[in-house]
Symmetry: D2
Subunit: 307 residues, 4 copies
């Protein structure tokens, strides 16, 4: 399975990128993100037979931001099963512009678990189901990643809370429709901590292999979720993982994936590998400019799109 020489491909990609532009802007809405070195670039790929291929700053931790929403979804889905879909949809959301009106029109049910409103509902579900949600969610992520060195970044979380007015608007609107069952502050606290998690490309790539292998954790062989649930999560990533650029990413990369405003992208090739890339500059849609480029080069060179 790992006959492809990913290491050589990564070298080619890195070489070609020497001459490429690195366009876009680093996220600046909180100081902790704004101060990141814009020139960082990390790549890490993990195959299902546990081979590892790495390039650049692959061991350096960064703020994974919305990528973590895949992991909170995984935990909530594994605990609640398909009942989850009465609280949050699985369809793409259209443009960000519509977020509030769509939420109002659809009576407080967010379109999918990756838009902010949907990820907030997932946090609400976790608070209802867990004894110590913040601790247990982190423990779950550590288990999936096979690393105890994963932490919340409290300063990031607090910054997000202080600037998170729109998320407050969303949660109160959902509360008005009865789709938030717990204290608003508790739910947003978990949500902002979730977004503050820091991982390296190496850790992220490892953590996402279960989605490439029918839900099985490569490390211990545990089943994180059933094959059917893993497939569901992959389809949601494919359709909703890139804000308003799902079509563009699907075309250029052709794999289910999820991005974050910290500049990270994770993608999964079912049956083959998972990969994480990190480069902080974001295009206008909020996705890592070089991250998308790297993944596009990889799937072109390996002809490994799912389409």
């Amino acid at each position: 399975m790992s006959q492809v020489n990913y290491q050589a491909i990564f070298s080619e990609i890195i070489a070609e990128l020497q001459h490429a532009d690195n366009l876009g802007e680093v996220a600046s809405y909180i100081p902790e993100l704004a101060h990141v070195d814009a020139n960082k670039l990390g790549i890490h790929l993990t195959t299902l037979d546990n081979s590892h291929f790495s390039a650049g700053d692959a061991q350096e931790k960064f703020s994974i931001q919305s990528i973590s929403k895949v992991l909170s979804l995984t935990l909530a889905f594994s605990l609640l099963g398909s009942k989850l879909w009465s609280r949050v949809g699985v369809e793409p959301s259209g443009s960000a512009f519509n977020s509030l009106v769509q939420l109002e029109y659809e009576r407080g049910i967010p379109r999918n678990p990756f838009i902010n409103a949907g990820a907030i509902v997932v946090c609400d579900v976790l608070i209802s189901l867990l004894q110590d949600p913040k601790k247990e969610l982190l423990a779950f992520i550590r288990k999936v990643a096979g690393s105890d060195e994963i932490h919340y970044n409290e300063r990031v979380a607090v910054s997000e809370i202080l600037s998170g007015h729109r998320n407050y608007a969303l949660i109160h609107l959902m509360r008005d429709f009865g789709n938030i069952h717990n204290d608003v502050e508790d739910v947003l606290d978990l949500y902002f901590y979730l977004c503050s998690i820091e991982m390296s490309c190496s850790e992220l790539s490892g953590a996402f292999t279960f989605l490439a292998s029918n839900g099985i954790n490569r490390l211990g062989g545990d089943m994180i979720v059933s094959p059917s649930k893993a497939k569901r999560i992959n389809t949601i990533m494919q359709l909703c993982g890139f804000y308003d650029e799902a079509g563009e990413f699907s075309f250029r990369v052709g794999l289910p994936g999820k991005s974050g405003v910290g500049g990270g992208i994770v993608a999964v090739h079912p049956g083959k590998y998972s990969i994480a890339v990190w480069s902080p500059k974001l295009n206008k849609k909020g996705n890592s400019y070089l991250g998308m480029k790297v993944l596009e080069m990889l799937t072109s060179k390996t002809e490994s799109s799912i389409f």
Copy 2:
């Protein structure tokens, strides 16, 4: 000016209403409003030469709710002047359905001071300008009404806070756009207390005479606001005072006015009188069913519309 025999007209109206339906529903979103006697009916008219005409339960206090937004607007406008219009508009808002999307499209500037978002911004302005906003706002209302027996109803305010999720959504969205300058909880606290004020028709009618007399308080002769400001407030009432029924009220009654979900309506005939009516059952648009009818009968019988 008081040659019209309003007392005789009120007797006629009361007699005719014996045979009329009293349709609609009492507001029930908080228990304090739901428990009001649906059959209450009060009318009080004050002329500019300080003659008083009264019928029914005109001395009984009730929750004036949104009517109080005229008084908070008056205070903020008198303190801040036309700078206020950079924070809130003076145009009708169209349907309630659009409230959130309109607020988003217009980047956090509410269309007028009587929709919830606009009244919340007015409270934010008052908090910025006053030392002890809750106390000073009440003192202002007492001065305008010429009565020290006007109070907040704390139980109503607390109930509103507990069920006010949509107002929380609105204020956080405006905060995101930078149009809320103070602590969200402080602003909503003032807003909900404002809405909890209780007054009788007699007190309300007296309090609003300044809008019929170019801004002059009938009692002490003080100028509450300039003639130009009084005219501005009247035009806002005319265009925005009745939720999604401004056109209907303008046609049937033909006076600037403001209603509240407690079943009260105040209307002003510039140069002539102010009048308050109270009947708790609301039509589908949220305005007092009998209140509108009484005012329509009055302006028909006296041929006193401004149109």
Copy 3:
């Protein structure tokens, strides 16, 4: 009633305007409007005792555009009565931005007869009721104005048809909801011809006196509409006559009125007079910049606002 020396006031206004800016832009979406002399200024006031006061280019014809919607509404309302309100509302519409979504949300019923969708429905009503709608509508307008020298401008109408894509979108959406009963092309033909009518300030002022006198035509003493209907039309003008600037016009001028993108404005003081002003430059909301100024100066100098 005509004790006010309007002629002297007009002289004052004209003198003061020598030093005033004439800001804004002439409408340019069709060539016929774009080529108008931007410096034209006409004023004409007609009192209920048939006194006339005039200044500037008051006898020169111009494209009255949307002002004509008041006259088509008057005819449809006089023929159909209050059944008309099942086809079109009487409430302000909020911002233009919402026009299509509001029409969709409210299932094809326009908010009022002065937004384009509403005026189109009024034309549909006229086509259902009249034998030769274009001819009979013009005859009605001539009768109301007391002049046979009023005509459609065919070149304007044709230009409007060619550029009227958005109106086509509106009418087809309403057709989808069943609120257009006649052939789409026939209805829009009448609509665009209606908008192409040319009148002078003198003619317009005369034509609108019936709205200042309870529906009675000053000329022959005929009743054009009942007093109640005249009041209804005035309230619709007050709330909906100035696109997204109804509140601003109500405050600055304080009279029911209607503007057109040709630079004309008509306003009515019930019981006193009707007035027409024409100056082609439009402010950002699409209303005549100087026209609003002239009317504001007039009502300030005469202290004659309805508020």
Copy 4:
């Protein structure tokens, strides 16, 4: 490649469906669709080595409706290349509710080529590029399908024209934004004829094999589109092919596909096969109830999803 015994699997599926509900409603907005026998069921699968597997009414023609939008897109994309994406997007659209407001907000650029507005723009492109669009488009479809027995159904097309008010609204709105370059009637004529095409499951399955084989027509070996373009079309089908149910279809079936209100569904497994299913009853989202079930059973039994 055809080692899987699809024929046996189809037999199993047909047997299991004997006991299954056939829920939903046949499309009834035009009589030609309403009169179809609701119990029809056809299945046809074509592998890349040109093996055929068939069940039920697989040779019976039906109205393919929106499925044809994939073929018009293919022709326009092959002629215009990526310039096409300046006229129409490639992203999911969110709910149907937003169609008009989204089109307005995004200034006349439809979100993707499969929503009505987008398919209309594609027809506009074809009219600009072709001499005899209706004839050449049909010729292209016949070539791709390898059959001269494919026709427009004129009665269906005319019925669609007569009831297509909303499509008229869409095209005029896009015209207003300059995104329609040809005569509105000509464009809609092509659009409605396109939707009226009738094909059997057998023909449809054959026509879509080029999308499973990197753009190569299995029959003559011609390249219909480049591999990159085939991949792009597949990703658009994956994200936008099922109205507001793309996520649900992706999860349950896991293949790129496209449905039509005639009850047809086509799906493509890149590198393996294309399949067409037909059953007229539609679920609430407008997709064939049994069609989705058949495809779900097939990909479950063969474990052949792309995810």
